[in-house]
C-alpha cells in the first residue's frame, strides 16, 4: 500500500462498491422512519437485480432496467405495507416470507440469463470536480450511480430535517397519534414512504447487476440486503451515518482482502467472518445500555458528542401498527 495511486484506486472502488448499499440504506431508512419495517430487502434486491439486468439486456436501455427494478421494489414494499396496515399481519413475518420468495423467484426467472454479458453503466467523470486532488478521483471520477447515491444521501437528509413533509414523515414514525391529531394521514403516508423506500431498494438491486457487480447468476448478491438492514440500525436511521456505515463496511471488506494477502497463513474464513462479527459488535455498541454507562463515566463535556457518536435510537413507533380507522 505504499503506492498512493493504488490507495486512491482502492478507495474509489470502495465508494463504488458501497454505492448500491448506500441507496438501499437510504430507502430502508425512509421506510423505517415512517414506522414500517420492510424486512424483505434481501429478496427484493435479488429480484430487482435480476429484473433490472434482464430488462436492460432485452431492451438495451439501462433506464428501463432501473425502472423495472424500482417497480419490483415498490411491489414488494406494497405487499409489506398492505399486509401490515390493512391485514394487520406481522411485518416481520411478511417481510421474511418475501425474502425467501424473492430469492426463489429470482433464481427461477433469471435462470436463462445467468452469466451473460450485459450492458452496464459507464463511468462518467464530472469535469472540473474530478481534478480535485484526492477527493476528485475518489468521489467524482465515478459513474452516475455513485453520484445518485451521494446526492440521495444529501437529499434524504435535507428532506428529513429541513422540510415540512419530512417532519410529518418523522412524526408518523415517532408519535403517530400526535401526527394523526395534527391531521396527518398516518397510514397513507406509511404506504407512500414504503413505496418510495421500496423503489430505492429496487434501484439498489439494479445498481448491483447493472453497475457494481455486472450480470446475473443465482444468489448474485445474496446477503447484501441483510447487511443493508444492519447498516440502517448502525446509521441510527440517519442517511449520513448510514452512508458512512456502508462505506465502512466496504472498507472492512477491502481491508480483509489486503490482510489476507499479507497473512496468507491465516485461513480465508477468518477474514470472511470479520464483516459479520464487526456488524454484531457495532450493533452491540450502538444499542446497548452499557455504552450509556460508559458515556456517563466520561467528563461531562464529552458526553454529548460521545452519545451522538455511539448511541442510536430507533423511531419510537417502528414496527407498531396504527389503527386510524
Amino acid at each position: 500500500m505504499d503506492n498512493p495511486d493504488l490507495l486512491l484506486k482502492q478507495l474509489s472502488s470502495i465508494v463504488l462498491n458501497a454505492s448500491p448499499l448506500i441507496i438501499a440504506v437510504c430507502g430502508e431508512t425512509i421506510t423505517e422512519r415512517a414506522g414500517l419495517i420492510n424486512l424483505s430487502l434481501d429478496g427484493t434486491m435479488l429480484l430487482s437485480a435480476m429484473t433490472g439486468f434482464i430488462v436492460g439486456y432485452q431492451t438495451g436501455s439501462l433506464w428501463l432496467g432501473f425502472l423495472a427494478a424500482a417497480l419490483v421494489g415498490m411491489l414488494f414494499a406494497l405487499i409489506v405495507a398492505f399486509g401490515s396496515i390493512r391485514l394487520k399481519q406481522s411485518q416481520v413475518a411478511i417481510g421474511f416470507v418475501l425474502t425467501l420468495l424473492g430469492d426463489d423467484l429470482s433464481a427461477f426467472l433469471g435462470q436463462n440469463f445467468t452469466r451473460m454479458p450485459g450492458s452496464f453503466v459507464m463511468k462518467a467523470g464530472i469535469p472540473l470536480l474530478k481534478d480535485i486532488p484526492i477527493l476528485g478521483p475518489i468521489f467524482f471520477n465515478q459513474d452516475p450511480v455513485v453520484y445518485f447515491a451521494l446526492l440521495l444521501v444529501i437529499a434524504t437528509w435535507f428532506f428529513f430535517f429541513r422540510t415540512q413533509p419530512g417532519l410529518k414523515l418523522r412524526g408518523v414514525g415517532e408519535r403517530p397519534e400526535a401526527a394523526f391529531a395534527r391531521g396527518v394521514k398516518v397510514n397513507r403516508l406509511r404506504y407512500l414512504y414504503a413505496l418510495v423506500g421500496g423503489a430505492l431498494v429496487g434501484i439498489a438491486g439494479a445498481a448491483y447487476s447493472l453497475d457494481v457487480k455486472v450480470g446475473w447468476s443465482e444468489g448474485h448478491i445474496r446477503g447484501m440486503g441483510w447487511i443493508a438492514l444492519a447498516i440502517v440500525i448502525f446509521g441510527g436511521w440517519s442517511p449520513f451515518r448510514g452512508a458512512i456505515g456502508a462505506l465502512l463496511f466496504g472498507a472492512t471488506k477491502a481491508l480483509a482482502t489486503v490482510l489476507q494477502r499479507t497473512f496468507p497463513q491465516v485461513s480465508v474464513v477468518a477474514f470472511n467472518t470479520i464483516p459479520w462479527i464487526l456488524m454484531i459488535a457495532v450493533l452491540v455498541v450502538s444499542a446497548s445500555e452499557l455504552t450509556e454507562k460508559f458515556i456517563n463515566l466520561m467528563p461531562v463535556s464529552w458526553r454529548r458528542p460521545l452519545r451522538r457518536l455511539l448511541r442510536v435510537s430507533a423511531p419510537l413507533a417502528l414496527g407498531t401498527r396504527f389503527g386510524e380507522d
Partner: protein, 390 residues
Amino acid sequence: MVRNSKRINILMSQTISALTPVLATLAALGVFAIILMTLGANPVEAYGALIEGAVGSGNAIADTLVKATPLLLIGLGTCIAFRGGVTNIGGEGQLIVGAIAATGLGLLFPEAPGYVVIPLAMVAGFFAGAVWGAIPGALKAYFNVNEILSTIMMNQIAVQGMNFLLRDLMIDPVQLEAASKIPQTARLAKEFDLPRLVPTRLHLGALLAVIVAILVYIFLWRTTIGYRIRAVGLNADAARYAGINVKRYMVLSLLLSGALGGLAGAVQVYGVTHRMFTDGSAAGFTGGAGFNGIVAALFGQLHPLGTIPAAILFGALLVGANKLQRVVQVPSALVTALNGLVVVFVVSSEIWRRRQAKKRQLLEMEEAARATSEPDIPPEPIDGGKEVLR
C-alpha cells in the same frame, strides 16, 4: 328459527375460517398451474406427478416424512422463540453448528458402540444449537441488539465455520489424499446410522421430531416455564410487573429455539447424510431447511401440533417437486417458488379470516343481545383466538 339459522351461520363461518389455509393452498396451486401452462406444461400431469412423487408409494411417503423431519424440528424452535416474543431467523446456522458438533463426536469415537454415540451426538447437536441460539438471545436481552439481524449474522458465521472445518480439520482423509479435495467429512461409521423404522429411508429421527413436538406443546402450555415464556411474548411489561425475569426468559426461548435447530442438524447427519459436505453456501448442506422450517411454523399458526402437518405438507411439496421437475421438465427453482407462493397466499388469506371473525363476532353480539340467558357459544376474540405472531 331465526336464532337457529344464525347459529348455523356462525358454524359455517367458523368452518370456513378453519379451512382458509387449505383454500389458500389450493389457490396458490391454481396460480402455479397457470404459470405451468404458460411454460407449456400440462398442470394436471404436473400435479399428478407432484402427488405421486410425494405420497405415491411407501418410499415416497417415507421420503416426504424424512424431508419433513428437520422442517418440523426447526419449526418447533420457531414456535418457542416467536411465542416468547423473539424472532429467530437463525435456523440455518443453528442446524449447521448442531450438525458439526454431532459429526465431530461421531468422527472422534468411531469405535464406540452406536447406542452410546447416537444419543450423545443428539445431545451434542442440541447443546451446540443452544449456544448458537443463546448468543443472539443474550445480545438481545442484555445489549438490546436486534435478534433478527444477529441471528442472520450468526448464520453467516456458522457457514464460514463449516467451510473452514470441512476443508481443514474435519476433511475426509481420503479427500486429503485425492487431488480434488472435495470439502466433506468421512462417512460416519455404519453403526451410527439412526435405525430405520420400516424398510425405507424413514429413520428414527422422524419419530423423535413428533415426540419433541408433543413435548414442546406440553412445555409451552402445561409448565410454569413455558407459561412464563408465553407471558413474556404476549406482553413483556405485564410479565415484568408479574415478577418474571423478562431478560432471562428471552435468552431461554432463543436458547431452546436454537437447541432444537441444533438437534435438527444432528438428526439430519445421523439419519440422512451420514457425513457433512459443503458447496460454500448454507443451503448446500441444509437444503434451506432452516428457513423452510420457519415458514412451516408460521403456516402451522406457531402451534407445535399445528406445525406437524405443516412440516409434512412442505416436505411433501419438496419431495413431490423433484418428481414434478423430472416429469414435466420444469426447473427446480420454480418448485421452491411454489412454496413461497403457498405461504404468501396463506398469509394473505388472513384478511378473509379476520373479516369472517368480525362478522361472526357481530352475529354473536346480536345473538347475545337477543338471548342473554343462554351463552352456548363462548364469544370469540376478534382475531379468531389465534395470534399469528407473538
